[in-house]
Symmetry: C2
Subunit: 226 residues, 2 copies
């Protein structure tokens, strides 16, 4: 089953392990989100999964490991999106920033509950896990600053403190976990598009002003967030 | 002691009550921040204040009331800042937005721990308190949207979806509670200034580009946030 490439094809056994881990993480996240980390036991997770506790212990050493996995998801996903754009998307800094914006928003909204759990439970992370997650955040910021610096050097961006601008972009997108509703005024894709438009505006990239987006009528009534 | 004006001068008795309430809230916030709400008893709060529990009960009916008071602080302070600018600052929409930005950032950074506690503990609020706080957020957003609409109508702002822009502004400023450090690269005033510059940029207000701010040399070593 071993492969000579650097990205080996997963064997069925590995796939099953990955599936069981994913399912365990998803159920743990449901319960942490509903009841809080401290009020959720491994027994409760096993019960909701209809398995025994040893099933969970075969894949995770502790409840703390599950929490770390969940708390890392949002930033890991955002960082993966950023890295992929930097590695694969050619074009001007503005084009690359636009693609970063779009994928960053999608990463945040797809991990909304995981990010909420991180915000609530970061105190319950081990110092090592907290440090590891903070390092990912720092890496994200550093790479975003570098992209902004590149755009300033190229004369495309009009930003005077790129570190502050990177924190502002990180904030306006990350905060979407607070107000995003699945049945809100705009779809996930529209939100991603609009926030990216605002990010480019903040970077001082002149932009056209097409008509305001609107969601298909049947879902238009609900409001997005607070 | 009664006054005929609508804003009566506080009698000494009221001042003492206000002082005791404030001190109790501050100590409760310290403990909620350090240990979490569920792990903090009223006894522990009384102990740290060097008072008895009846002292606290004279001013608050329950631990839940203390939590509600703490969780409301950030948004109440931001809303008060917004209301004050709208009521007292004359000028163009851009000038008013700049003043809103500056005071909003200060409100958030001055309530950093209170906002962190809200993010962590919102699940522990009663539905009534949660609703009241959500209403304040909604009011804030609605008023900010109105100001942005005014600027668009006046041809000063270049924003295509003012509701999304209001959420983006709210997010980039609110998220500062995550990365702000008292001993960071920039002072609170500099951060307020820079974020406001970015908000105006996002609203499409053309801005000059003076030199980047820098903190007095002795405090320059530390970084702002993640």
């Amino acid at each position: 089953m071993a492969s000579a490439t650097t990205a080996p094809i997963m064997g069925i056994r590995d796939e099953v392990v990955a599936l069981k881990r994913e399912r365990t993480i998803a159920v743990a996240a449901e319960l942490f989100y509903e009841r809080g980390y401290e009020n959720t036991s491994l027994d409760a997770i096993a019960e909701r999964m209809n398995v025994t506790k040893p099933f969970i212990y075969a894949h995770f050493t502790s409840k703390a490991e599950l929490l770390a996995e969940i708390c890392a998801r949002g930033i890991a996903s955002a960082l993966a999106a950023l890295n992929e754009v930097l590695a694969t998307v050619k074009g001007t800094p503005a084009e690359r920033l636009a693609e970063v914006g779009r994928r960053f928003v999608v990463a945040v909204l797809n991990n909304q509950h995981y990010i909420a759990i991180f915000s609530r439970e970061e105190k319950n992370l081990t110092p090592e896990d907290f440090h590891r997650i903070s390092e990912m955040r720092r890496t994200f910021d550093t790479k975003l600053v570098a992209l902004l610096d590149e755009g300033v050097a190229a004369g495309e961006f009009h930003v005077r403190d790129t570190r502050m601008a990177a924190l502002a972009i990180g904030g306006m997108v990350s905060w979407a976990y607070v107000w995003y509703r699945l049945d809100g005024r705009l779809t996930l894709e529209q939100i991603s598009h609009e926030l990216t438009w605002l990010i480019l505006g903040m970077a001082g990239v002149p932009q056209p002003m097409p008509s305001k987006p609107s969601r298909p009528a049947r879902r238009r009534a609900a409001a997005n967030g607070p």
